[in-house]
Amino acid sequence: MISFEPTEDQELVRSTVREFAADSLRAAARDADEAGELPAAVLDAAGSLGLVASQIPESYGGVGGERSPITNAIVLEELAYGDAALALAAFAPAEFALAILDHGTDEQRRRLLPALAGDRAAIGALAVVEPTPAFDPSRLATFAERVSGGWRVTGEKTFVALGEGASHFLVIARVAGRDADAAGPYASHAALVVPRDARGLAVGDREPTLGLRALPFARLALDGVEVPDGDVLGGDAGCDVGRIVASARVGLAAAQVGLARAVMEYAIPYAKDRVAFGEPIARKQAIAFLLADMAIEVDAMRWLVWKAASDLEHGRDALRSSHHARSYVASQTMKIADDGLQVLGGHGFIREHPVELWYRHARTLGVLEGVVGV
């Protein structure tokens, strides 16, 4: 049934997170960006919201709330409205946990989830992106080769969010010798759980970035890392890596909707306040129409994200809807951040206002893959 009605639970979570993001995250965003560091107090406060544990069943050490991609999309929009870097820092750990929950065998869930659900939780991180121009997750250069009793993984990864402090990585790789395209773009992929102390794994220098500077991204080098069969996500049957990619695309798109809304809601009062040639610039159609276009697109983007999230939630194929949500939202968010900066004129270029930060966030978020999931 076609409905835009969030559940009561979703409304409650939305208002809680909205308040937290607008107060705590927004206030900490500028200093965190300048320092290139995550403020521990803010992350602790985010952790107390229980965003990860609430989705893990009690039997795996969690709180046992509902597992809902739509709820997560709503949460990510609200968090990123406060600040996208801090939002991703708060929510990225959920991605590893949700991948284990959604795609792991029962043994894998029992073994890995309890440590991720606790108070001072361990962190698992996804390793998807590779340092290559025009990175495409369907064409990986990281390969898993069959060896006796398991796999040997070789390749380079980067943009691994929170990778420096992670206890485990979920490495997305291609299975050597398996042909992809006939059975879909991810048919030859596998997700492998690699502990931080695995032999052959090196966690390298931090990847410095244009936006999201507060969020530390790690680089990984995998040199023949041996992964036993039991650590291939989903066991012998493997798992649908396309679904992990889709979930991440929806997650990033949801965060971008929040970012775009932040720009719009900052630009509107600014344009009403800023006087030029005897009246507020918002009363000029040239400015007013830019703002109207923002309102149109923020709505359109949110519904695309919700549609893709609902496909994931109802177990439908989500490759198409997540693709559309991702590509559309990435380009529109960039445009909104760009136009928002233009509305502020010279002030948009000054670091006293958050718009230049959002402009950098928008460009950065738009090209990432696999950083945060729903």
Binding site: M1, I2, S3, F4, E5, P6, T7, Q10, I70, A134, F135, D136, P137, S138, R139, D181, G184, P185, Y186, G242, V245, A246, I268, A271, K272, A282, R283, Q285, A288, F289, L291, A292, D293, A295, I296, D299, A300, M301, W303, L304, W306, K307, A309, S310, H314, R316, L319, R320, S321, S322, H323, H324, A325, S327, Y328, E369
Partner: protein, 391 residues
């Protein structure tokens, strides 16, 4: 709960609408190139094919809201053809919507069965209907109308028309009232049928009213007073637009969907597969362009469903109606232009319907308020400005 899949019952209705649409499409080219003919109320196939309307009986409260379903049905019909229908029900004109919104129960009972056009636009007044110059002067138990109307949709075929006229030109928008005039009334002249870029088989008429005398009770709603506040009465009239803006957006998106479907098929014939989920580096440029247009289509359709869903919830949807109209109006232009760009020369061949959809959709961003007017409404709403503060 948030979801975007129609229920099973409604999916069957929409599938049936598409089947009828494919039949209508067989006649689309003929009526496009024979502008002087009207498509019949029933195509020959109507004798053997059952109507999708029969499936409505199976609907319950657990199915999609009626406004939401209406948008999907509208898009499904124009996916077949903008003007040609397997069957054309009575009471489906724009004037019928106005009668339902503003007429008294007696007026609705009296005229509801007629096909009613809506006459607003004048030679000197388009997107700003407050400049209406057609006058209605009371004369005993009658109104006497004088003026010109243009761009009257289905104006030739219609059996009657709802006309906007002012009863007090000095009162501005507050003086505008809706009057119902039946065809055949002395002084009501159908001047011509317009020749257009697209939607050619949808007749568009120009009217003249020359001392056209109608009974006093033909004023819709029967309220002869002029509201004191600047635009109260006018707002009543403008209420009609809350579902017509999403509806015309849906009509346009049905045609752009047809253009996308045709383009996907032609690309497949040429060996270009559109793959979902892979990154840009794995897609041929043409497929990449197609994916962008398809995402735009989805985005625009969702804004239409949002506006309709709000109406189903009996919530205000004025902002959302303008959002979806502005979004769809621009989207259908980009999509049909882009599909021709993708397919190259065969995209402009009249052997295919793509060039017709390209012409037909162009009106979407103009009628029922241009994209620019919608942006003005949106901007005023989000900025909290009055008409005077932002114009």
């Amino acid at each position: 709960m948030i979801d975007f899949e129609p229920t099973l019952t409604d999916a069957k209705i929409l599938a049936a609408v598409r089947e009828e649409g494919l039949v209508a499409r067989r006649y689309a080219r003929h009526y496009d190139e024979h502008e002087e003919e009207f498509p019949p109320d029933h195509l020959p196939e109507a004798g053997t094919m059952r109507s999708h309307a029969r499936l409505f009986g199976a609907r319950t409260d657990a199915d999609d809201g009626m406004a939401v379903l209406s948008m999907l049905v509208a898009a499904g019909q124009t996916w077949g053809d903008y003007s040609v229908r397997l069957r054309r029900p009575s009471g489906g004109g724009l004037g019928n919507a106005a009668l339902r919104a503003a007429g008294t129960p007696e007026q609705q009972a009296r005229w509801g069965h007629l096909l009613l056009a809506m006459a607003i636009t004048e030679p000197g007044c388009g997107s700003d209907p407050s400049r209406v110059r057609t006058t209605a002067v009371k004369d005993g138990d009658h109104w006497v109308l004088n003026g010109e109307k243009i761009f009257v949709t289905t104006g030739c075929r219609a059996q009657g028309v709802v006309v906007w006229a002012t009863i007090d030109p000095s009162a501005g928008r507050a003086g505008i009232k809706s009057f119902l005039i039946e065809k055949g009334t002395p002084g009501f002249v159908v001047v011509r049928k317009e020749k257009k870029l697209g939607i050619r088989s949808d007749d568009t008429a120009a009217y003249a009213f020359e001392d056209c005398r109608i009974p006093r009770e033909n004023l819709l709603g029967l309220d002869e007073s002029i509201p004191k506040e600047s635009s109260g009465g006018f707002r009543e009239v403008m209420k009609t637009f809350n579902m017509t803006r999403p509806a015309v957006a849906a009509l346009g998106l049905g045609m752009s969907q047809a253009a996308l479907d045709f383009t996907r098929d032609e690309l497949a014939r040429a060996g270009v597969a559109v793959q979902y989920g892979a990154g840009a580096a794995s897609q041929p440029a043409l497929a990449q362009r197609f994916l962008e247009l398809e995402a735009l289509q989805e985005a625009a359709m969702l804004t239409v469903l949002r506006a309709a869903w709000l109406a189903d919830q009996r919530k205000a949807n004025n902002l959302e109606s303008s959002i979806c109209k502005a979004k769809a109006g621009a989207a259908v232009r980009t999509i049909t232009q882009g599909c021709i760009e993708i397919l190259g020369p065969i995209g402009v061949s009249r052997e295919h319907l793509l060039e017709k959809w390209f012409r037909d959709v162009r009106i979407t961003d103009i009628y029922e308020g241009t994209g620019q007017i919608q942006r003005l409404i949106i901007a005023r709403t989000i900025l909290g400005y009055t008409r005077d503060e932002l114009n």
